[in-house]
Subunit: 244 residues, 2 copies
């Protein structure tokens, strides 16, 4: 039995919605003083860190996020653990990790968290630290370690949750148009939806209530406003809850 | 930064459906030679073990399950990590763990997996080892460590998955009655469903196809048979996939 226990880390995949794109929050890794710039190494990584002694995993994730990006009070969902013994097989990455941590690391099992936030609200420019950046999920470069794999799995989880939990409505204004709802689905799912089919589908949803009012101050024909009816949603959920 | 890394373990919550009850597979823990029987300690636990050196987490979980219960080739879903520093706070449990592992353990972070199987098919009596037992989820005793908490979270995950993934159909015969489907939902969700409402709800599902044949060889009025239409399900899923 192994006595050289693996190190344990947490990594946070923070998705940001800005109405046009789905982005992910990355940070520039620390540069080493003696870094060999002739053999370039990936520059961006997820906010993450080894956990501290006697620190709960969730607390670690929140601490790391605050320290590295300045973001606080974000709901984090633990979604997967990455423990493949070869995930640090890239010798340059491993050497960097040993140098920056000062630890004789051979294996790290990382617990991954994700979140979805509105970029505008969660990120007034003064809170986000300078080394943190929002990058579109469609324009991700090669990242350090297996962080591209972690983001892919987080994205798959987010898209599944969007189908099964009312998380999307939290990103919309309280009263929204069907166009806004469709745009949210299109951006997060990364697909184009047929307008007519979309309207037909949402028309059947008991928890989407049309309001007796229309958009104001728009140059085009004003559209009806809708709201998410949480009570109707909970009621239906309590019922049977079939997969669709 | 902590240099005494926590140990890492895997634990498996195997749910079994036997048409009347939802059960979970537990094993009798090893007894210590000098165990103080005056202060009784919990006897049952989840199949689980510390991971070995250079072993992937999924591989660990499968190995442990085979070694402790005899069950093989079961699909395991990793669903959560339990890393609360106080999860081994019970000194009797910790002493037992140190004695049986021979390791100076202080903290264990465990990666938890769950699965759902038909008891009849996955468990011909000759495969299940004698120390493994199926216990109804409604009659669970107090288990070792935080294993009751782990099972509760697994059950919550299973019930959510039953709403959002077609996992239930794998437990039914290829052709089934609505009564069988309702029973499956009732047993796994742990609720009673109103027959009329249930039939109304499932009648709307595009992926549940009624067959032009009825039950045979039953003493009561034979019921229509249904099948799960995977293609219709995938099509609908590709569409938008709203939460219900």
């Amino acid at each position: 039995m192994n006595r050289l226990n693996p190190h344990i880390s947490v990594d946070c995949v923070i998705f940001g919605f800005d109405e046009k794109q789905l982005k992910v929050l990355l940070i520039e890794r620390e540069r080493l003083q003696d870094e060999n710039l002739d053999i370039p190494m990936e520059v961006l990584k997820l906010p993450g860190s080894l956990i501290s002694d006697a620190e709960d995993l969730d607390a670690s994730a929140h601490r790391v996020l605050l320290e590295l990006t300045g973001l606080d009070k974000i709901f984090l969902h633990q979604f997967s653990v990455f423990g493949d013994p070869s995930r640090l097989a890239n010798t340059k990455h491993l050497a960097w990790l040993k140098a920056t941590s000062g630890l004789p690391i051979e294996r790290v099992v990382t617990v991954a968290y994700y979140s979805l936030v509105k970029i505008k609200e969660s990120n007034p420019s003064e809170t986000l630290l300078s080394r943190a950046k929002w990058i579109s999920v469609n324009e991700l470069p090669q990242l350090v370690f297996d962080h591209n794999i972690i983001i892919n799995k987080a994205l798959k989880t987010l898209r599944k949750e969007l189908r099964t939990e009312p998380i999307g409505f939290e990103l919309l204004p309280k009263k929204f148009t069907l166009r806004q709802l469709q745009n949210l689905y299109e951006v997060i799912m990364g697909i184009n939806l047929d307008n007519r089919n979309f309207r037909k589908r949402v028309g059947k949803l008991s928890y989407l209530a049309v309001l007796p009012e229309k958009q104001k101050g728009v140059s085009h024909k004003p559209a009806f406003l809708y709201k998410f009816d949480k009570k109707a949603f909970e009621k239906e959920r309590k019922d049977v809850g079939f997969v669709i």
